[in-house]
Symmetry: C2
Subunit: 338 residues, 2 copies
């Protein structure tokens, strides 16, 4: 009843020992006899004791928290299910442990850097997760300078900060082979912004695989992740000379948007145009025709990243981690070239 939070000295008093003994007992360290430890622990949970995170942080220097900042404009953030799934995965790995998740949403890169710097200064987090890496990402430099434990969610780009990555290159190749098998040769990849490392990786993989398959007409066009931009680009590509028979998108929203454009242009999917989305989602499943999509283990990614980060924080030697492979889920939006 009421709002009184017991402290270790309450426990000490009740058990007739010193607070030091209580601390040893509750942390399962040597220094107290087994019966005493048991007695102390009993009292502790009879009293409903929970350690004060502030006190603990202050004395042992650990915040028992990790941070994630997502830098997307507010308008866009709700659109992609990616982040929520990621967060669900993160929580899965955090569940049960003492570590909490601090989340921040910013709308520019400067603010993101400032957030990390502040968390570090306030000693609020023991480490951070880095998403959407760009080339020569200033965040990498920052965590290095601050010696802030960090894990990158994305392709290994640097050696001194561990990465959790997914083999997108193989998936890109798989998608291309799949489309080629259906008879497609004029294939366009509608990609996200060039600045992202993962975009570049996939685009490179796309070009390489296309060359290998002898697709001289395959190409990549870059845009942002928004449905408007995707619609514009798709319209241009489809109404230009030598229109493609298949489009591969970098997210789900763009693919759905393109579906609308195809409809508007009187192109039937998949008879006249095949579409593939990256990241599978409810969107892809629910839309008609349902979209073929590359499903990536996003939650798994988040969970792996957390485990890795906790290891780094714990001072263990770690290596890059590869998640399970993406998987192409064929649905109604892809078919033999008509």
């Amino acid at each position: 009843m009421g709002a009184k939070r017991p402290t270790i000295s309450d426990i000490a008093k009740a058990a007739g020992v010193s607070t030091g003994a209580v601390s040893y007992a509750l942390n399962n360290r040597p220094g107290v006899s087994e019966p005493t430890r048991r007695r102390i622990m009993d009292i502790a949970d009879r009293l409903g004791w929970v350690p004060s995170s502030a006190a603990r942080s202050l004395s042992d220097g650990r915040a028992n928290a990790i941070g994630l900042v997502v830098d997307r404009p507010a308008r866009v953030i709700g659109v992609e299910p990616y982040f929520m799934q990621l967060i669900a995965g993160i929580q899965g790995a955090l569940a049960g442990g003492p570590t909490a998740l601090l989340l921040q949403v910013t709308d520019n890169a400067q603010a993101e850097l400032a957030a990390y710097r502040r968390w570090w200064g306030e000693r609020r987090v023991d480490g951070v997760l880095l998403v959407d890496l760009v080339e020569d990402d200033p965040r990498v430099e920052l965590v290095r300078e601050l010696r802030l434990p960090a894990v990158v969610l994305g392709e290994p780009v640097v050696d001194d900060v561990p990465c959790v990555w997914t083999d997108d290159e193989a998936a890109v190749a798989e998608v291309l082979e799949y489309l080629v098998a259906l008879g497609h040769r004029r294939i366009v990849r509608v990609a996200g912004p060039t600045r992202f490392v993962h975009t570049q990786t996939r685009s490179r993989a796309f070009t390489t695989a296309a060359a290998r398959l002898g697709l001289s007409e395959a190409r990549v066009v870059h845009t942002d992740y928004s449905d408007e931009a995707a619609a514009r680009v798709t319209r241009r590509v489809l109404t230009g000379g030598d229109p493609p028979t298949a489009l591969v998108f970098d997210n789900d929203v763009m693919a759905v948007s393109a579906l609308g454009v195809a409809h508007e242009l009187g192109l039937s999917v998949p008879e006249q145009l095949s579409l593939v989305a990256w990241d599978d989602s409810a969107l892809c499943r629910l839309v008609r025709p349902a979209l073929s999509a590359v499903r990536r283990p996003i939650a798994e990614r988040g969970a792996a990243a957390v485990r890795l980060l906790l290891d780094v924080i714990g001072g263990e030697a770690v290596e890059h981690v590869k998640t399970s492979d993406p998987e192409l889920v064929p649905r109604a939006s892809t078919g033999p070239v008509g």
Copy 2:
């Protein structure tokens, strides 16, 4: 360079004063002369000083953090853009201030309660946001017992914990009137789980408005928020006797799912069947035909809730807050009854 974080005693040393003076200066409290204060502050930000949140919490008892726990199964969490938009709004109101956001995703109500209890025990948060209230919600009881400052995002249900609410009742009426104006009389509302207060509110409003408009055939069917369940229910309703000419859904996913079902049953939208989604989203915009939807100010909600919560934490007297009104965005999925 490097990872040395300055403390107030570093500043004190550099300024040749006591740490007490530094503390007074940095917190803009009386006790130091203006020139000294200025000197101290200069040194502080030359050194890049940032207060240790742990130390501050420990001494003044404030965590400078608020908590949000979202209780949705991992599978579902990515689907609805609602939460991300909410979070974006929350962050907007938090930006600039000293307060951080702790996020937890759980998959059952017990875990959610445990999370609040733990945060409280650890003194990790100064207050919490409560979403998706159910009748006689145990969380309300809990925050009351713990005297944990809280704000409910939803209809005012209790007096002692302030709420941020949106006038859904008016919106429900508006939607019904709109449909009636289009000639619809057999209208079914496909709602979320009964246990949620907001579901009940809307259902009640629906029934009331229907009665007022003389729609004896209007009715409500409850389901969960998933697309599968919505598909099942929709199929049953549409293939049953006296099928409705318009359906109103409780979220976007269900509406899109129903669109698929209509398609499958050979019903053309909106000629033979009109659909309205609640919460507008990219999904609604992108799907063909685009879905008419009720757009609610979700981010505004989040921001308002934060401001309210900070007031509560600050000990100010507060009242329930009403957000701006939802707005029906008519698109291609609604039309005159055929």
